[in-house]
């Protein structure tokens, strides 16, 4: 069952990344999660993208294990429950994780308290990542719901 979560996490991350990229190409958002994650590690743009994709995949697996733990506690799993987890995940990411926590730990991201100072600053995401475009919350929710549904589905199928 844990393998189901990991495979689901990998597949879900692929789908989530693809959906967010598609939203970007469609002009719905400027959010670029691999870029955001990678620039926490390196200032080199090209390297940041590569590192960011790797980190994103790792986080996708870590979150799938968290989903798995909750599925184990509640004693059931499935596409619908996974999708519901994904919705909560998206709301948490938009309101707290990326909005509050990431700017605090990201060495190159601005917060509401910083002005353009001595270091390059990445534009902060804002509540529900609205700074990256008004459709960003929608894209984020859809992508995370898809991620959750895939993880939940794989866990259910492997159980």
């Amino acid at each position: 069952m844990i393998w189901g979560a990991l495979v689901g996490g990998l597949a879900g991350t692929l789908v989530l990344t693809t959906l967010l990229r598609a939203a970007s190409e469609l002009g719905l958002t400027r959010m670029d999660l691999p870029f955001l994650l990678g620039t926490a590690v390196t200032a080199d743009r090209v390297r940041a993208k590569a590192v960011g994709y790797a980190l994103h995949a790792v986080f996708g697996l870590v979150f799938s294990l968290a989903y798995y733990a909750v599925f184990a506690v509640v004693g059931r799993s499935g596409f619908v429950l996974g999708a519901a987890f994904g919705l909560v995940h998206a709301l948490f990411a938009g309101s707290a994780l990326v909005n509050v926590l990431l700017p605090v730990v990201h060495p190159r991201m601005g917060t509401g308290f910083t002005a353009a100072g001595s270091a390059p600053l990445l534009e902060p995401p804002g509540f529900m990542l609205l700074n990256y475009g008004r459709q960003t919350p929608l894209a984020t929710v859809v992508a995370h719901v898809a991620y959750g549904a895939i993880v939940g589905g794989f866990v259910s199928l492997s159980g």
Partner: protein, 598 residues
Amino acid sequence: MGASRSRGYAPIRDYAAIGDGRTVALVARDGSVDWLCLPDLDSPSVLGALVDAERGGRFALEPEGPCEATRRYLPETNVLETTFATAAGTVRVTDAMTLPRGGLGPYRELVRRVDGLTGTVPLRWSLEPRFGYAGRTTRIERRAGVPVAVSGRDAVALCAWDAGEPADGGDAIVGRFEAREGRSSLLVLGAAHQEPLVLPSRDDAELRLHETERSWREWARDREYDGPWREAVLRSALALKLLVFAPSGAIAAAATTSLPEEIGGARNWDYRFSWPRDASFALQALLALGCAPEARAFFSWMLHASRLTHPRLHVLYRLDGRAEAEEESLPLAGYRGSRPVRIGNGAAQQVQLDVYGELLVAAARFASATGGLDRDHARRLAEVADFVCECWEQPDAGIWESRGERAHFVQSKLMCAVGLRQACELAEGGLLPAGNRARWGREEQRIRDFVETRGWSERQRAYVQRPGDERLDASLLVAVLAGYDEPRAPRLLATVDAVRRELGRGPLIHRYLGDDGLPGEEGAFLACSFWLVEAYARQGRLDEAAALMDELVPLANDVGLFAEEIDPATGEFLGNFPQGLSHLALVNAAVSIEEARA
């Protein structure tokens, strides 16, 4: 805005270009950036006052009150320096699109540094971003205290240091400050596309500006021409480098769309595409300047871009290699009322037979310079030669992209003959598959028979634009340049003289005269004027070539740039700007004179 503006529009001659190998900004003499497409040269404009002074958007920076502006590029760079002299003092503005140097910088960055030279000069600035050719909604907000303008997947931020507090100016970000002697200020326009904005530090932006200047200088110092027109040739090389789209190697024909060939007229086209027609001129110029990497990149890009349409060549391709270029009109006022403002280019769908000759000439130049062609390129070029044998008898739109009925343009035919001759010679040298060599030779002869019998006018004593029509066409100068015959062949000598006589206006040459199916008229075509210089040089008429060159070179604007055309009566620039073909032709003309002298 500057006094030389008419209804808000600066003369085309008043612009200078800065760029970073991805996009180009046009800066007017009065300090206003009136054209900037983001993120790429062929993307929609964010600053588009060039084609709509009221709604297009601009980034103005100017002294308050009357001033005199002088400007130059920093030597051997594409970094622009404008000095404003006012009654209160003198101030210098340095403008550049910075080149990335590692580290985290904005996706695209326009840096404007202001140095106070004497006195205390009050200045004002205003950024009016208008995304999507002024067609998209723009919101102005703040991030980490920095004003930003956002629209969909695009955003720009304006960072200002010692340049006044950026204030909300309605749909603009505005500021004013005093430039004091010995003090400097910095304004940085950073752009993002499909990613969060990067807000740079002042030190990083200053360093990138410094490194950008150094990079351009290093590139310029490797250029090889060392003749009497070195300054003009070097400026042309730098202008062409701005038009090389670094991500693909394509060379854009110009940085703008819809600058008119006739003020107030409808001859307004989008030139932010790459034309295979220019290939042989580009290869010739790039190789002569010692730009082998750029030549290799462009040749490879061209063969790659045309892979999907092979063996047919489209007239033009997008800078990313795609073949679609659907033409549409934008609801913009147009440069000094010149409508429509077009994006895309309907010529993409035309048949132009001369491009095959240009491609095969380019291949021969490339093979000669690099020692050969790879097997895949050779096979495809042989298939192009086969295709020429099948298509040369068709009518086409001609080199000038006539939008009227197709015709048997003589220049198209003779370029087909030149192309087949090049294919034969490459095959004889073992550089192309030789299986169809005999056929290429036979068809070449048939084309020559056509040109000599139907393309020659005894009355004009010249080759003419098309059979049965006595009109001359300056594109026939290409017969000398491309080696259709010995340069001093009697018919070529006579044609060159006839072109000068019939189409010349002082040192300038018109493409053709008379009706071309479009309303209005146009100016003299600068590339043709430089082609005449090159034709003279190749014919050994060096005094005539040098004299004409000496007359043409000073017609550039104050920073050495050329548009597509010039009004012979007023000297006003017309057409898109800066124009790659004009600068290619200038380089090739200067180099040809030196080669002939050697």
